[in-house]
Symmetry: C2
Subunit: 325 residues, 2 copies
């Protein structure tokens, strides 16, 4: 049950991961201006962020390149257009979804890439396919994480088996992903301890990616952190699908390591994020997301309600029982 460290200390094992382009891209179909991405990159360097996730390595067979911005695909030249050779301490990550990536074609050897880490996102039932991708990416020379999505609806015995499989794989980081923003801190703490107890012996690190449906993304992130989860995902102003994520500005205000700086993040929010919001890009907590979070279901009904400006919250909530129950 013991927490790791205390609230005054800093933990050198902590790594802050900026997922603004990747999760935020789900809000605007990855159509970010290059100037936005460039400033985000510079902000992350100044703020002491450890990893910046650029987007997905999505299959061009499955997704039409004309329907999405380039960060859905993260071609090597797209990233280099922002970071050059990336001669900085900021590491570069991309996400690859199991079943939606042509990884053997699109993931090139590390020696030819500025990417440092491939984050493999998977549902629990796809675990063998995830392991295949993890092994491939390691052979190619990358760090990897495995982001097990929607654990709030997974059977705990399945999670145990997945953690055992991952423990025996070459994966570096195992992520706890609260896709529906439905978990309470007490539950996240229990998951964090389970992940720690099952994967520490294999030398694995743990990460968390939280959603803000119940305004618990930040609380869940720091709760997991206190039980040995060290890779912490956040996005600028919480930009991400639906209710969004843990906000970088919350996290930077909390972390005690002097390498982390809040001011560059505040500057990015006041200049770049407010501009996006003025353009009508919408994300963040609202009552419909609370409803799907409470009921532990996918936020799609809430996203639809938000798009239609449907504020009949009680009807939405009752309807979710019929549609999703």
């Amino acid at each position: 049950m013991e927490r790791q460290g205390n609230i005054m200390q800093f933990r050198p094992d902590i790594k802050v991961v900026d997922a603004t382009i990747r999760d935020g891209g789900l809000v605007n179909n990855f159509f970010f201006e290059d100037s936005f991405v460039k400033k985000l990159y510079e902000t992350n360097i100044k703020a002491g962020v450890d990893y910046m996730e650029f987007g997905y390595k999505a299959s061009k067979e499955l997704f039409d390149v004309n329907e999405f911005g380039k960060w859905k695909f993260c071609d090597e030249e797209s990233i280099r257009g922002i970071v050059g050779e990336n001669n900085t301490d900021l590491k570069i990550a991309v996400m690859a979804d199991v079943g939606r990536t042509d990884f053997k074609k699109d993931i090139i050897p590390k020696q030819d890439s500025v990417i440092d880490m491939i984050r493999i996102a998977t549902y629990i039932y796809q675990m063998p396919a995830a392991i295949e991708m993890i092994e491939y990416c390691h052979e190619m020379g990358y760090e990897t994480s495995c982001n097990i999505m929607a654990i709030s609806t997974a059977r705990e015995s399945d999670i145990d088996m997945a953690l055992e499989l991952l423990g025996n794989s070459p994966v570096d980081v195992i992520y706890l992903v609260d896709s529906y923003g439905s978990l309470y801190p007490e539950q996240v703490g229990a998951f964090a301890r389970k992940y720690r107890d099952m994967t520490e012996k294999y030398g694995k690190k743990r990460g968390i990616h939280a959603h803000n449906n119940q305004q618990l993304a930040f609380a869940n992130t720091i709760e997991a952190c206190s039980y040995g989860v060290s890779y912490l995902d956040a996005t600028m102003a919480g930009m991400g699908r639906g209710a969004g994520n843990c906000m970088m500005e919350q996290l930077m205000g909390f972390l005690k390591n002097p390498k982390y700086k809040l001011i560059p993040v505040l500057k990015f929010v006041e200049t770049e994020i407010l501009k996006l919001k003025e353009q009508g890009v919408v994300w963040g907590y609202d009552v419909p997301y609370l409803c799907t979070g409470i009921l532990n279901v996918h936020p799609r009904s809430a996203i639809a309600a938000m798009k239609e400006n449907d504020t009949n919250y009680s009807k939405l909530y009752l309807g979710l029982w019929d549609k999703e129950g």
Copy 2:
């Protein structure tokens, strides 16, 4: 360290306190329509809320009755205009600030009042005056709570002495109040355990009133709850000063006691709260509140920035060090 109960059980000791009129009144100077207050009262009854706080018993010597709505003063007839004899299970509370109330004049004997509980709000240095009020209100026949404000800036040794004084007083409930929304759940948990350990032997109950500056009001409320705090303050859509409070809809979605109902709360939010927001009444999380929360200072600078639509967050943050440091 042990938590009380688990996340599946419900705790019969829990009391939900709706503070919408009282803390929300700080946003609109207590100018609520009677129809709003009446619907809120009916909503609280339907939702199974245990206490409804109507406002302050403020001194008419110190405050001009023409500058504030009637809920700043909570005359007996004002409350009876909404609740009649209040033949319901919902108890009625009002707040009285130490030093800002003519309690010996304005607090009448319980037998002549529909009020059930007087909540005495105090800073830690006013404790003897608070005790005098607590004793007076008990002699008049009321339940009381003592709401110790701004504990995040109080010396812990002073808090110990205050808890000891309160333990020996007739007070029923001792509140942990995070006035600046600056506490993290781990710190709130530690306070909750301290309050429990020091006041349980006197048979006192504990309460929490949280603010949402860092989007932690709900997380802090349920964290305190898990360590034996049983009086839980919330407001509809979090309405309250600055970043507001723990939202009633979050709390109702969390609590497991079947007496508590989310749907009436959602209906109130979609009909009454959205109307208020359309009228331009503003509260809730924003970056300036995060800044004052992180720095553990009064939100006045953030409230001013919000009023002026000043989005220069980095300058605000840096300025707070000069102004408040």
